[in-house]
Symmetry: D2
Subunit: 312 residues, 4 copies
């Protein structure tokens, strides 16, 4: 991760600036506010601001109960109940904003989550830094065979080395040519006074999808959970999963009860189709049935049996 000295100073200063507020605060989240969590080779996530906590969820749920609220079960049970029964609107009542540095191909997956606010560094206005993602050797894998997307086994060391050389070489060369086409130094002055230099919005098209960009990303707790359910999943591409997992840790600091309910009712849950429900009923009744008798497709059978620790 590359933070300039100026950025580090800015963060240190921001962390001096305690103020008093009547709003709910979360000490465990204040502890890491503004500070970058390093991810991949040059990326990071920094929590920049937040609004609300577990209690904001509870408070919103209880406005629905009105007078009835007095008797209602305690917070933990209520949050589990809301999560389990997909009463999702109370989770919209808390909000978080993060500053993220990430490779462009990760940004392209991330932005598909539409219910969030984003301001991205603009390569029309500014020059992108010379930073590009190069996978760890351990991450260089072949196309998966069973799974039509995703990765399978690791490459042999020699092929891995060749791949890394190509990725690094092309990233360096395309960046060098980008810089040459721009023809401007750090202060925006011409390097070669005899050339005009190409407009930034065009020069950037020479960069590869591994180039780092950055953005401010703001979303509510409900949409964050939806993002995490899809992107902290083993089927998500490794490089975005790394970000999602860091955000799951942020979640644990920010809203510990919601975090617990999320693991219980989302990440660790299993949904059975109507046919799978019938199958489980028959198995629980002691019937011996295999995939054919179950009526499930081979793939669904395999997934359900694996989830329930049954022989396939």
């Amino acid at each position: 991760m590359t933070l300039s000295d100026a950025q580090k100073r800015e963060i240190d200063e921001a962390r001096q600036g305690h103020a008093a507020t009547l709003r709910p605060t979360v000490a465990a989240l204040e502890d890491i506010l503004f500070q970058p969590i390093p991810l991949l080779d040059h990326g990071f996530i920094r929590v920049i601001d937040y609004m609300g906590d577990d209690n904001a969820v509870v408070q919103a749920a209880r406005v629905s109960y009105g007078r009835g609220t007095k008797k209602v079960s305690e917070d933990r049970g209520l949050i589990h109940y809301l999560m389990r029964h997909w009463h999702t609107t109370p989770f919209e009542m808390a909000e978080i904003k993060v500053h993220v540095k990430l490779p462009i191909f990760v940004a392209r997956q991330w932005i598909r989550h539409r219910t969030a606010s984003v301001n991205e560094y603009s390569a029309r206005y500014s020059v992108l830094d010379r930073e590009f993602y190069l996978p760890d050797e351990a991450q260089l894998k072949a196309q998966a065979v069973t799974n039509r997307q995703g990765r399978g086994d690791g490459l042999e060391p020699q092929e891995a080395a060749q791949v890394l050389d190509l990725l690094r070489g092309d990233a360096e060369q395309t960046y060098a040519n980008y810089a040459w086409m721009l023809n401007e130094d750090q202060e925006g002055a011409k390097v070669d006074p005899n050339r005009d230099g190409l407009a930034r919005e065009l020069a950037r098209i020479n960069l590869t999808l591994g180039t780092y960009t950055q953005w401010y990303w703001k979303t509510n707790l409900h949409n964050l959970l939806h993002f995490l359910r899809l992107r902290a999943d083993p089927h998500a591409q490794y490089e975005i999963r790394v970000y999602a997992e860091a955000l799951v840790d942020v979640l644990a600091r920010w809203v510990p009860l919601t975090h617990e309910a999320f693991l219980e009712h989302r990440l660790g849950s299993v949904t059975l189709s109507a046919s799978a429900v019938k199958t489980i009923r028959r198995l629980l009744a002691g019937e011996k049935i295999g995939q054919t008798e179950s009526g499930l497709s081979p793939r669904e059978w395999r997934e359900v049996m694996t989830a329930l620790d049954q022989p396939i």
Copy 2:
């Protein structure tokens, strides 16, 4: 406005609870946090939480400029620039949450703004309070003649009195019958032990659209401005405009620069159609033209000339 003693105590307690935070705080908004602003006869708005300030807008805009940011114009100019050129995404970076008590017919207009989060008091779970909106006599007006929606001149005192009697009488009677059908006291016990009482979700259909409800409403600054542009407008129905105007005052406390730019480039602005632009050019060139020569419809001509202080 009717706040129970319990609610008042809760607000007082919440206003004791100062905590330290690293987040940006806005003193002028903290001053009124949690406190109800009375509206209409029983309604209110209370700011419950917020995230960010004018600087959150600036910060998000500048991430786009990257290195270029150092030289950029100061905050006020930047916010005006963003507002004028409809660069709206930076305004999504601040968030506010309010608790609102409002008549159901106002809630029905309000909820049409979809990009917000809402948790409403549920009349399926709980019993609605005996509170209904009765207009001030000054608000009792006839249907507008020029404008097919909206109100025109005030009613004569006698008709106004009759109208108020009807509104009050029907509200009281329908509420009394609602209560009779529910057959439950404050603690939920049966009033008449020989009747079952009707389910709440059904009994409520007897209430009128003037009955008060309440909700938590959370939205970002951009969507708040959009709401205010439409609902603080003179064409909006008086009863929702009252709420919008109270929120414009909240805006002035919370984000004074954005508030100023909003008055300048939204509330006080005038949009000229392509044909109106041509008309103004001809007028500025000294041509004497009327509606017929302008090519504008009579209605658009009237609106444009009025906005520009010209004879119609």
Copy 3:
């Protein structure tokens, strides 16, 4: 249901107007296009327009597979796969528009689904018809005891009759007073020339929540399924469930494969929490465990065991 003669003629005319199109068409849906499906006492749903069919979902899913598409499994399997794995974006590629007449309290629940387009009959511009919802006697039930929202057992005939009398009486009286305050006849002329009449936007606040309104509602297939999952559920209030169930039938005509997959993987599915998964594993392994040993809350235990046909 009340359709005026003018409306009936309009529908008949619209159903004459066959045109040729290159777009995908669905014969089973064309068969009922424009025709009202009666619901409750005065309500209806009419399909007004649609775009796409099951194949639009398949086509969109396959653009993702690119060259790989040639080998991909057939449509039915693909749609089931998408539904089961929450690959929801292809379901956004089909769209439907319906005209709905519904009581205002149902409209208030319906509108909470934000990702749809709505144009509602405006009681600021126009006078509402004298139509209000009166439940069938069979629907008049007491508040549920186990379930804090919803209905329990039916009322005794005498209480039911009293309730119906009250509902009818208040609806008729509030409407009559609404009409008196408006002081306008069908053509908009004054009934009593000596009174101004109250503006429509104010007079309507005297109407009850059982009054019928109507709107055009347009949504994509994905959001329709989400709506149906929540509103065709037994926990939804009866009056909106009636509409949802009619839309499930429309779904079966329009996109039969998606309809089948929706019943299998949404309406008929059961989601097990992480703890419930562990419990089922132990039960399948032959362990005898009760609620206490399971670690599930009594409520979750009851729900899971019921779903799987196990003794509670």
Copy 4:
């Protein structure tokens, strides 16, 4: 533009498939349905499906007027009125779906419009074609001086030639290395049997932002107009503007009245701030004032005076 023979056959077949429908159809749009409109060097837009026409807007607006509709002005005036007064919801009642082939850097701008449905070709599942955007020499321009984003004057021929050589060379080399890393032929078999080949989701990060991708994009008329207002604007980057302008032509075929009103009240309109309104009033009253007296910033003064054909 590169359409495979298979794709051309598919389009020809689709264009044979006339069916009868009761839905509104638009002959001028049916004429070009499915057929690619070539854009840039390899891109295109094809209209794939649509729902509704100008009349869908009118119909939705009139449901609001209810009984009142009989007297209402004719369709053209109504659509102009809706557009001018930002009554936007009726424009949500028509929908369009297009298939777009576009460079990745254009896709990154396009996807910022969140209220649309998208299914993109997945480079995790499939291999991207060897197609990348190379600007026409006429488009190779220097960074703009007055405008901090965007392009200024054209490059000298020699520099332009150097730039094109670099862009082409890097695109070809990074694609060749992408193909080498994948190590698979058209049928997915290994080219070099001694290497595993890198997973597609990783190999693609070597491609540049000029590489073409494709997607299905579906949006409603309101959101399409919003997209066009921003992207058919002279400040938009040339490469996305080309797509927006093609869509403006599609708009003219599909909804000619809406297209006309859009040019009049959006693309050709000018919004005056509160201060600019005051300035115009003074100018119309014959006062001679310059920028300083106007209270406008130099930039806003210049923009307003230019728009109104006044000396700066």
